[in-house]
């Protein structure tokens, strides 16, 4: 693997639900009430190489969006380090931190909620480049036209408001806004989940073209395994705040190692499978408020042993460039 552009080391993020007045009083009186803590991201370590596309997959509540937000700098981590180009985000001086914040941009899921409805497209895309000195205020229209063309939007529409665009076009505006500050690393959080199939294909192609033209690195967060399979080089699978498997896309789809990865891959509906017999994974996704002890997946795992209930499996390298967190791998 080439040099790591971004390295995450034992990163965690907790959310605490504070007690309200009545609950604090009840606690004082001796009731058994405690603050509830969600370990949204629980000791995650991973590396993203320059120019790579890493797909981050998991079901709701697995912490994939929280991880993306921490990398994009929107959410401070509770503990652990994010190292960007060799420097930890917390150790950077102001100039370095500003540069990193510009170079790591985020694209959001909902193209309706992530654009200010009262701003014209030219201002949505042009605001940041002017503020950060990429373009002079007098050249803003020219600059925005350039970016719009790059993402396949007609520059003629730059004076319009977001509501005058379709969902796919709005997502392009969101992408243009991120590209306007010349980023090197894009965090795409379910960036195509809200789009129709034919529009989804257009945006996936756009992401792949941009990667080639601008030498971008992506963290592509999605619940949709077939999209991730199509676009990424490496895949990270999370379950309830922890990484369960990291592998190259080929290796993973050929032979998933972790039982959860196997179950997930098994469940993906595929166009080439007809009249299949569904054999679903048993059980629900447990509440992240009260995850099962040991390995989080053990209540749903067909191979669960006593050890899985007691001991958290560590993520270790089971083959070159391939990690999995499962006790079954220790048996060999």
């Amino acid at each position: 693997m080439s040099e790591a552009m971004l390295e995450i080391d034992d990163l965690s993020r907790n959310f605490t639900k504070k007690l309200d007045l009545a609950e604090r009083l009840a606690q004082k009186m001796g009731a058994n009430i405690r603050e509830e803590v969600v370990h949204a991201v629980d000791g995650v370590s991973l590396k993203i190489a320059k120019g790579g596309v890493v797909g981050l997959v998991g079901e709701s509540g697995c912490g994939k969006s929280t991880l993306g937000r921490m990398i994009a700098g929107i959410l401070p981590p509770s503990s652990g380090r994010i190292v960007y180009k060799g420097i930890s985000l917390t150790d950077m001086d102001i100039a370095e931190a500003k540069r990193a914040a510009l170079e790591i941009q985020m694209i959001f899921q909902d193209p309706f909620a992530s654009l200010n409805p009262r701003m014209r497209v030219v201002d949505i895309i042009g605001e940041a480049p002017v503020a950060h000195g990429f373009a002079k205020p007098s050249e803003i229209h020219e600059y925005v036209c350039d970016v719009m063309q790059r993402v396949g939007l007609d520059p003629e529409y730059r004076r319009r408001y977001p509501h005058q665009f379709s969902g796919g076009q709005r997502q392009r505006i969101g992408i243009a806004r991120a590209l306007a500050v010349k980023p090197e690393f894009l965090v795409c959080d379910e960036a195509i989940a809200a789009l129709d199939v034919s529009i989804q294909a257009q945006v996936i192609n756009l992401f792949m073209d941009l990667r080639e033209d601008l030498d971008l690195t992506y963290l592509f967060i999605s619940h949709d395994l077939s999209v991730v399979e199509h676009i990424s080089d490496r895949v990270v699978i999370m379950y309830l705040g922890r990484v369960v498997e990291i592998a190259s896309t080929d290796a993973l789809f050929e032979k998933p190692n972790h039982p959860y990865a196997q179950a997930l891959l098994n469940e993906v509906p595929r166009v080439d499978q007809r009249g299949r017999d569904y054999k679903p994974v048993e059980g629900e996704i447990p509440s992240p408020l009260d995850p099962p002890g040991g390995c989080h997946f053990h209540p749903r795992c067909p191979h669960a042993m006593d050890r899985c209930r007691a001991e958290r499996p560590v993520l270790r390298e089971i083959a070159p460039e391939r990690w999995s967190a499962c006790h079954l791998n220790d048996g060999t």
Partner: protein, 332 residues
């Protein structure tokens, strides 16, 4: 279709919405049939008219929408001539519907048992409450809800999303309907939970001979579940036939484009085929074929409306230029 009468036979159904801005032809001449125990997938992108088709069959189209013409023959009886009272007797009894959002179907302030007993008594007033409760419990067990006796006394908010959808399916099952219309029932669910719901649906059709119309935008889900597929575009079914025929040898340019744009079905990392442009507004569909503006094969013939033809046995399509050469690749 010959032989035994179909459970449902929709003939030239037209549902239009008469709004101030003009007439939206949401469903415009849809014909298809569902045999006993058959699962028909109704596939299309947003605004293709698939949901309105489902609503028209079960008689839930609200003004300004109106079924303008056509016939919906349910076991030989025309539902459109039945009137409100007649439909009320059928709905939830012989024909049931499952919606995308189970919170829409479940009343949040009533316990699940109350809602289920109500459904049974509405169609069979003679049943004692005890028997009704027993039937409700059996229905919950049938869709794989653990401890159905206790869960009967729960409120909808005490269930997770997947469980709630199971309750909605259980209610649809209560009166052992002949036909279930499922409108995107797994779209809001996680992959492993979606697998569980598909498993229950499949088991149900196989065991009880219930027919099903599965409305979705997800070709992959339909591929695994359905026997027959109808692809909708601009209010019309552009292609229908047996699932394997249509998915392996799509004939209509839209179906071909759609299949070409599905990631996971196509070679990893390659550009997906993208259908140019976007879906036309139902308010001003072009004269003739609705797909002409985005179709690579469109010519002057497409300015007139294509009739339904059967170029291959068992397939019905609306196109002047079907791809009948099987050697060509999808998406070209």
């Amino acid at each position: 279709m010959t032989g035994t009468p179909a459970t449902l036979d929709v003939r030239d159904l037209k549902t239009h919405f008469f709004t101030k801005a003009g007439v939206a032809r949401a469903v415009d001449g849809v014909s298809f049939s569902v045999a006993k125990g058959e699962v028909v997938g109704l596939v299309g992108e947003s605004g293709s008219g698939k949901t309105v088709t489902g609503f028209s069959i079960i008689g839930l189209v609200d003004p300004p929408g109106r079924v303008v013409s056509g016939e919906v023959l349910f076991k030989g009886e025309n539902l459109l001539a039945l009137g409100n009272d007649g439909m009320r007797k059928l709905r939830g009894n012989r024909i049931a519907m499952i919606f995308q959002d189970p919170m829409m179907t479940l009343n949040p302030v009533l316990r699940v048992d109350t809602q289920m007993v109500e459904t049974i008594k509405a169609h069979d007033p003679g049943v004692s409450k005890r028997d009704a409760l027993l039937r409700a419990r059996d229905a919950l067990g049938q869709v794989g809800i653990p401890a159905p006796d206790e869960r009967l006394r729960s409120y909808p908010h005490q269930f997770s999303g997947g469980m709630r959808q199971r309750v909605a399916i259980a209610i649809a099952l209560l009166n052992k309907p002949d036909l279930i219309i499922a409108d995107e029932p797994t779209t809001a669910l996680d992959v492993t939970i979606q697998g569980q719901i598909l498993y229950e649906a499949q088991k149900l059709c196989r065991e009880t001979g219930t027919s099903m119309i599965w409305i979705t935008h997800d070709l992959a889900v339909v591929a695994g579940l359905a026997d027959k597929i109808c692809v909708m575009y601009g209010g019309r079914i552009v292609e229908q036939g047996a699932i394997s025929d249509v998915l392996d040898h799509p004939v209509h340019p839209y179906t071909r484009g759609l299949l070409g744009s599905v990631p996971g079905h196509n070679t990893r990392g390659q550009r997906l085929y993208q259908i140019p442009g976007m879906a036309p507004s139902l308010m001003n569909l072009p004269e003739g074929c609705a797909f002409q503006a985005r179709c690579p094969k469109a010519d002057t013939a497409c300015k007139t409306e294509p009739a339904i033809t059967e170029p291959v046995p068992g397939r019905a399509i609306r196109c002047f230029h079907p791809h009948l050469d099987r050697s060509e690749e999808v998406g070209t």
